[in-house]
Symmetry: C2
Subunit: 248 residues, 2 copies
Amino acid sequence: MNTVIPIVSHTLRAACSACSLQELCLPAGLAPDELQKLDEIVNRKRPLKRGEYLYRAGSALQSLFAVRTGFFKSCVMHDDGREQVAGFHMAGEMLGMDGIGSGNHMCDAVSLEDSEVCEIPFGDLEKLSREIPTLQQHFHRIMSREIARDYGVMLLLGSMRAEERLAAFLLNLSQRFAARGYSPSRFLLRMTRHEIGSYLGLKLETISRALSHFQTEGIIAVQNKNVEIKDADRLRAMVSQCAGHPPQ
Amino acid sequence: MNTVIPIVSHTLRAACSACSLQELCLPAGLAPDELQKLDEIVNRKRPLKRGEYLYRAGSALQSLFAVRTGFFKSCVMHDDGREQVAGFHMAGEMLGMDGIGSGNHMCDAVSLEDSEVCEIPFGDLEKLSREIPTLQQHFHRIMSREIARDYGVMLLLGSMRAEERLAAFLLNLSQRFAARGYSPSRFLLRMTRHEIGSYLGLKLETISRALSHFQTEGIIAVQNKNVEIKDADRLRAMVSQCAGHPPQ
DNA sequence: CGCGCTGTTGAAACTTGTCAAAGTTTGTGG
DNA sequence: CCACAAACTTTGACAAGTTTCAACAGCGCG
C-alpha cells in the first residue's frame, strides 16, 4: 500500500499499473501501454479523514473518483435537510457518475473511515476513452452496473420487508468483501445503524431489532460494528422468498 | 411522424434529422453532418402492440432503444416471478442501459400502449461516439441522468410516505408531458394502479385510496386513467415537506 | 353481451415507526 | 491515562400507516 517514499506519495501520479485493485477498477482489461496512458491522467488525491466530504451536492463535477482504500457513503439530501443514503462504496468502486448529466454532483460523498481516492478528471477520461476502445467499453460497463445496482436497490426498497432488506444488505456486503479478498463471513460495518436504516428505508431502531433477532436465531453474531455471518444460506433464503410478501 | 410511404416506413432508416424528439433524445446537440452519421446506424423498429415485450430480462443486449412514440415500463423480476416496476419511459427516452454491464438485459421492457422505437446497435453507438465527441458526451449525460433518476426513486421509496410518493409521481409525469408539448395538467395514466403501486412500493389499493383522497381534497380530478391536476402547488407542498416524516 | 380485468371501498391485522429511557462505545481534553 | 461528554445502540410499550382480505362496481375486449 505504501510506497518507498510515503511522505510524497500523495503528490505522485497514482500507479494503476501497480494497483492491486486493477481488476475491479477502471483499468480492468487494459493492455500495458493503455494502462500507462490512463496512469497519466489519474491523480492520487490526498487522504481523507473519517467524516470528510469528497464532494458535495451541487458542486461542479470536475472529476470522477475511484476508492483506493477506505469506505464512503453517498447521500442525497431532501429540501429540508434530511438525508437518504443512496449507496456505500468500497475499494475499487467509482463515485461521481450521477453528476455527469447536469454537470453538478447530485449527492454528497462522505468518507466513513480514513480513506484514499484516485481522481480521474472527467474531460480527460472522455478524451482518452475515445482513443482506447477498451477503456470506453469498460467505462460504459461501470456506469451501466451502477444503473443495475440502483435497480436492485429499488427492488429492495419497493418490495421487501425489513428483515429481508437487511438480509440482502448483509449478503451484498459479504460478497463485495469477498471480491476484495476479505472474509465474506466476518467484517466490520463501517456505517452506523442510522445510515444502514437510511439506505434501507428503515429506522435505526428497526435495524437494531432485526440484527438482534438474527443473532437470537443464530444466523449472525453481532457485537457493535462487528458482524459474523453464521448461516449465509438462511440469509439467502430470506431474500429469495421475499416476493409475494408485502413491502409495507 | 409518418413518412410519405408509410407502408414501408418500418424498413427505412429512422430519420433523426427529421424527428421532433431530436432535442430530448440521443441526437441532442449534434451538428447536421454528425446527425447524418447517427442516422446511418439507427434503425426504426417495427411498431409494438400494447403488452408486447421490447426485450426480456436475461436476453443478450445488442441494442439500446429510444422511444419514438408510446409508453413503456421496465420491470425487474424477483426469483419467484413477482415484478417490480423500475421505471416508465416515454417519447425521447432511452431504454436498455442497465444491460451494458453484463451484456444481458436485467429487466423486461414492455409497451403499455401501441408504440414505436428506434433501435441503436450498441456496438455501432460506441464506435460512433469515439468519432463524435458531442455524441459521446451526450450519451454519457443520458446514462448519468438515468443514475440521477434512480437516486430520486430511492429517495422516494426510502423516505416518503404513500401520498407523498404519489404526489411526486404525478408531478414527475406532469413535467415530462410538459417537456413533450403535452398538457402538464391533464393526461392519461398509461399504466394500471397495480403498476403504479409496484413502481412506488405500494399496493394497488393504497394507490386507489390516495387518488380518491386527492380528489376529495380537490387537488386532482381522476376518472379511470384520466387525471387532471387542479392544484399543482399543493402536490409540490406535499413532496417537499416529506422529509422528517416516517417512510413507513 | 358477458366475462375478466381493473378499480373502489371497508374493516381488521400486521409491520414498522415513534417516543422514551437506559446502557454502551468512542473520542477528546485534562 | 483517565474522565467525561457526545454519539451510538438496545429494548420496551404504544401508535400509526399500509397491507390484507373481501365484496362489489365499472369498463373494455372478444
